[in-house]
Symmetry: C2
Subunit: 167 residues, 2 copies
DNA sequence: ATCATTGCAAAAGATTTGCAAGGTC
DNA sequence: GACCTTGCAAATCTTTTGCAATGAT
């Protein structure tokens, strides 16, 4: 019953910004314009993104609200530490997704259009824990990525193939 | 059942070197000393490795059998194309493992000692295919990494903790 | 006032590439 | 001999870091 693009949210007491401010306070870190700007931008859409995509969405150098590249990287790491974001690697670069207030899930990755499709599976968690138990392994987390071709791209590909065959 | 370090091998007609030579021929590529050296080195041990580890095991610059860094990278990519190796990302760098003649498996990754422990799970494959079917997704491959602390490191940690507690 | 944070420029680490010289078919 | 491959140096890409100036508490 889960939609591909939105697996629903979990009840949370605080907004991401509030949660982050709490984190900053607890560590004696400061609540700056840049950090607020980035929380806002990052949590305004529920998509997977990388550092460059995020930087592209921010105001350019000189414009108000601009944040420098090093600060973006630094702050993304803070978001991960604070439990706001989860980070993983795809094709050699870091990809981020919402973690705070968002349920555990895994991904189908279309190597044609680079789209990530989310899915949830309780059986996967059970399987993971069973494997861990057999190996006396203490699980912290896991990451499953199923790579292939999504429905849309399969259709496009078939169409192209047919066209090519006819020529 | 399966040993952690060796999941057994699959019946294959050709040795990795023979298979690679076939691949080279079929593509009009050449059978060079460097390529032969690297096939030999890579398939002499069944361990996960990265480019640097491999380079460290090769003769140094000046010694016979030395292969330059760019050629190592180029050749590793060829091995992946040829189906000899599988490549994945771990902590931001590429890790390789035998693919040709070796059964499909997944990994437990100890973040303490960086060791990769292999396991096989038919249920995982079934689960993967079921999820793909539900999403009309055509699977090419998948990668599951379960991160945590291995048995050995758990023991070491407990010992350390106890020691610390006593001081 | 103190001390964290920012932005800049530069560094770092992993991997790739242009090109001339050398090797394979 | 044709042309693929190698090694070198340099480039690339992504991410990190040193440091002086700036800003938050």
């Amino acid at each position: 019953m889960s939609d591909e693009q939105s697996l629903g949210t979990v009840e949370v007491a605080l907004s991401p910004l509030e949660r982050f401010e709490e984190y900053l306070q607890s560590r004696g870190m400061r609540n700056t314009d840049q950090r607020r700007m980035l929380v806002e931008q990052v949590f305004s859409h529920h998509e997977h993104f990388d550092a460059d995509t995020l930087i592209d969405k921010l105001p350019r150098k000189g414009q108000p609200g601009h944040v420098s590249r090093p600060t973006v990287y630094r702050t993304l790491n803070e978001f991960v530490d604070a439990g706001l974001l989860r980070k993983f690697e795809l094709d050699g670069r870091a990809v981020y997704e919402h973690d705070y207030g968002y349920p555990q899930h895994d991904h189908l990755y279309c190597k044609q259009c680079q789209r990530l499709i989310e899915f949830q599976s309780a059986e996967l968690i059970a399987l993971r824990d069973a494997v861990a138990r057999e190996n006396s392994f203490r699980v912290t987390s896991h990451r499953l990525i199923i790579t292939g071709i999504c429905e849309t791209c399969q259709r496009a590909r078939r169409r192209t193939k047919r066209r090519v065959d006819l020529v």
